[in-house]
Symmetry: D2
């Protein structure tokens, strides 16, 4: 029987932090001891997120006010570029699960190019483990700092890594059309995510310039054993949660869509959070909402030699807070599904 | 330590049945043994509700195929007027939690008037306990058949019963403006609940003729000690889940809105699922989505002597499947919150 | 045959200004000569509102840059409290149609109480005509300054004024439950109108404190011939456009709901923009979206002696820009429907 | 000065028929004389579509009851496979604008393969003109029967035809990821388009099997001068109206994305309904809602030698009823924009 682990959440006033709290507060082995949010310090959590009322959460404090002695692990939900210094300043005894982008890119030059400034904690970058749970499980178990993947990379890599590794698709010819709900843009005030702007409509954004592209390329390249560039084109969809990837790929070595399906089914057959879409059902974000699940599908294209690959997850759960908690479970030696058993909420 | 209870769900192919399954499958003391749905018999549950894939559920069968020996309790999610005969035909050893309207109305004449036909299981009506958990807890504990309240009545009665009983508001002057998400209309095919019809718009429906009105009146009358008629006007809101009641009442005996607030706060101070809205926050369906919670608020009207009362819940959880499970816990002697700890999903 | 009138729009970067432009650009007797928006001066209108691309609109300038010589009329879409001084500084030859709240309240003390500061253009207040087109038509024709009603007051007063004037309902016992789409909150950045906050949910706001209440009371009191206070409780609905009022009233003098229906039908029989809901159809915002129409319905309450009254309109059209254009037509002697013939957009 | 043309609408009870009526009723040269809808015959149009109340429309009748003498043109909004026989039975003097799929495919074998049965009016197929207005304008002017393109083909072909014809992209390597609002699925009752099923979520559908694929291929092949197969993958988006195409293509002959932009801008420079997205703005369905406009964008891919092409339109307007009216204008010799000047409705 494990004892409870005392955790802190840095940056608890964003959607990612809040969803981490939603899950962690029901995790039987977690005691939420610290919640920080510099812009809301002094407030009750329920004043910032009323859906978290009645849970007996600690009040929000500043990062500086946090007393990390007696804390075992922290989740960091700060925006990119701010996490690195905050995390660098944390005591060594803390296990750190970072949900920001700061430690995802292995190559400092790539980080600098895409995030517009030099990395300020390169020594930590070196030890950070990329937290795609199902693919880096062993390294995560012994990591002190885990860099949780972006929501899009999680959805893409869960779908493509096994196929690239098995040589079933050509890593050099990948078109990744991505669709995300609005929560992926966070809670900060921007005109394009107002209800009247994002509602009842649809548009692509960050075309050929989204920061998740190099992250995807990093991992696909590693799997392929050569440098690849991918097309990655995200779209903003009028829904709050959920993300769906439609990937158009060229089959390699005579493989078929059926081969791809079998490879994915086999690769994930023991994975509690990864499912092939049921027979006759297409993956839909509705089917994974609120859960840590990924649903995958493969389809023969009418264009000879090509395949259509589909992946869906909840961007705030498996795409962020859920996977963070999954990694925490791995790091602490807990059952990986602890606190993550929520069934999808539909409708 | 309790042993697991084997349950069945009759009518598992509706939204109510599915949400019951969503919750029950994670209830540590429940074993889902039977799922029936006559129109989908023979299918896997995930073919009907793909969000329930991967949970190891039994396949759907007909009511007639169900073997009730060895089953301890059944939840019934059939449409009204069909439940009564199905339930009457069940073996005596089963505890029954009915989520339909069939056993809610104590007076057979009222049932007949509002549901357009004579009740076909009046002997069971006599023993049925009205399953508003927080208000009929003791009777529910020993009931064999519990008639779970309608979603609207639950939201209304949780808000008004304590105030009427305390004489703080005039039960004879109640305007109840109700707003519900579309899932309240069920999953059957009707034009008005198509996405393009219900989306991006709003309308009242069943004006002065909704069947939840007599149910509300029944309980308010009991609390008031006299027959009352209430205004009850529901509206269809372009969202899937959630329900919000705005009740306009005349204060009685010199009471104030503050008195109402205090009365509700005190009445529900020990209740795990009922919360007053945090200071400065108005109740919103977003804050209770997916949870079994009710959030309440009271406001002084600018019109002297009047009060504005607000209540919100998730129509499929506390308004249906969640409360059904809460009643099941009471009937089985389990902790009332077992399997109902899900935190609200926001955003 | 009329010549074209050259108009300006002050505050063209808000939703109200944009909808005025949408309508005015197709008005056969309008030439849009000036568009101002101090925070966006120098930009093309299509950079601020891409849906207005390709219409040959003038670029945005500051109010100060505007040359009002040669202009005949201006529409003002500024926020309240800023309009009054801007309008006071305009040349006398301009006809002014103000869509803000600044000149709606006849009593300066009421303005000061609700808007938190002394009115800075009281001399103009004295001459301003309240622009509820169907009810102040004659005064509007000869006005120089028209104060267009708020969106809620328009919906409420179109519904209630004829009934109060005819003595069919008791003006002293009015509960007005109002529901609005999110565009009513404008385009400025506020957390509560983010997609993820307002979407898939519903809440009341500004309970007993909304600034449209005194405006409603002003006009109801005038019609009733005595001071009245009304309950007015708005709710934020997850849709962009549209507004629906459900009013709960006590019938007076033995009147029936049918009498109310007849009175409204007769009062508006010649009005091109006002319709009773078709037989068997309830008013819905979907049915008036994008048009200048108002749809009304009356229903007998089950509570004896009471009536349920419903009104719906598009808050940006009849609730704002459309009515402004209707008033402009009256002021310029044009046919009242010119440029306002758009049929509702459904779905 | 033209005289008014008397028209009929066959199949007026679907969304396409209703949107045709919305536009036609304000067309200055149209008199709507006949509305048919066999399943709703005898009803007033406002009983079926309340947003069309107050327009003085004729009542719905059956196709058989329609008297076509004195009628000049008919629009046909029936489902595919039913149009061909109804149209074949119409008198010769009628100009026919068919909005169904029945006469779109030039090759009877292709029709039979994709629509599951032999074509029953092949003689008419031979004379039918494909109604992509901007690309078949001259043929449309003299046609008696125009087959309006599908919504997806319209969006795709407006984007790709000029580029294929100019040899700027490789017609043999086209990935077309399509996203549509739910109105594209029509008004008939299907579970997947219920509000609770389609809302707050997203999924692909008809993967590699959508009937608009052969239609797209037919026209792309004609433009390319060789048979091509395209990837075409549609997705259902939680919005009512609007469609957005993201096309991933290989540049040909050393062309750049800028070349593509220039080619499109030049090709459509005189077209009133086709616009390049304003500088710095991505095409969004919100910007064309309710209008007959198409908005296009071109973007350099990060993958060398590839381009990302985007197109958006309102599926019920330019994608159906609007383009039908545009073709009608061409066939009757009217100004092509008559009755189609509606500005996009935003928000």
């Amino acid at each position: 029987m494990h004892e409870k682990v005392r955790i802190g959440v840095i940056g608890a006033s964003g959607y990612t932090g809040a969803d981490l709290v939603r899950l962690a507060v029901r995790h039987p082995l977690i005691d939420i001891a610290v919640l920080t949010a510099n812009s809301h310090a002094g407030k009750r959590m329920e004043a910032v997120f009323p859906h978290l009322a009645g849970l007996g959460l600690p009040d929000l404090i500043t990062n500086e006010e946090a007393d990390w002695s007696g804390i075992d692990a922290v989740f960091c939900g700060l925006p990119h570029a701010t996490s690195q210094q905050v995390i660098a300043a944390l005591p060594e005894h803390l296990k750190v699960i970072d949900m920001s982008a700061d430690f995802r890119l292995r190559d400092p030059a790539t980080y600098e190019k895409w995030y517009g400034g030099a990395h300020k904690a390169l020594h930590l970058q070196a030890e950070a483990v990329y937290g795609l749970s199902e693919h880096y499980r062993e390294a995560i178990r012994t990591a002190r700092l885990v860099a949780c993947p972006g929501c899009y990379p999680t959805a893409v890599l869960m779908l493509l890594l096994p196929l690239v590794k098995a040589g079933l698709i050509d890593a050099g010819d990948l078109v990744i059309d991505a669709k995300s709900g609005v929560s992926g843009a966070g809670r900060s005030l921007k005109q394009n995510i107002l209800f009247c702007e994002a509602g009842e409509g649809l548009s692509p954004y960050a075309i050929a310039s989204h920061r998740h592209a190099p992250e995807i390329e990093q991992e696909i390249s590693l799997a392929a054993g050569r440098e690849v560039i991918v097309n990655f084109t995200p779209h903003l969809i009028p829904m709050s949660r959920g993300e769906l990837i439609t990937c158009y790929a060229r089959l390699a070595g005579g493989a078929t869509a059926e081969d791809c399906r079998n490879a994915l089914a086999e690769r994930y057959s023991e994975e509690p959070f990864v499912h092939m879409a049921p027979e006759g059902i297409n993956p839909a974000t509705q089917y994974v909402r609120g859960s840590n699940n990924v649903m995958l599908g493969t389809y023969a294209d009418r264009v000879p030699g090509r395949v259509i690959l589909v992946s869906t997850l909840d961007n705030l759960v498996k795409g962020s807070a859920g996977q963070a908690l999954q990694n925490f479970n791995l790091m602490l030696g807990f059952d990986e599904t602890t606190g993550l058993e929520q069934v999808s909420l539909f409708p």
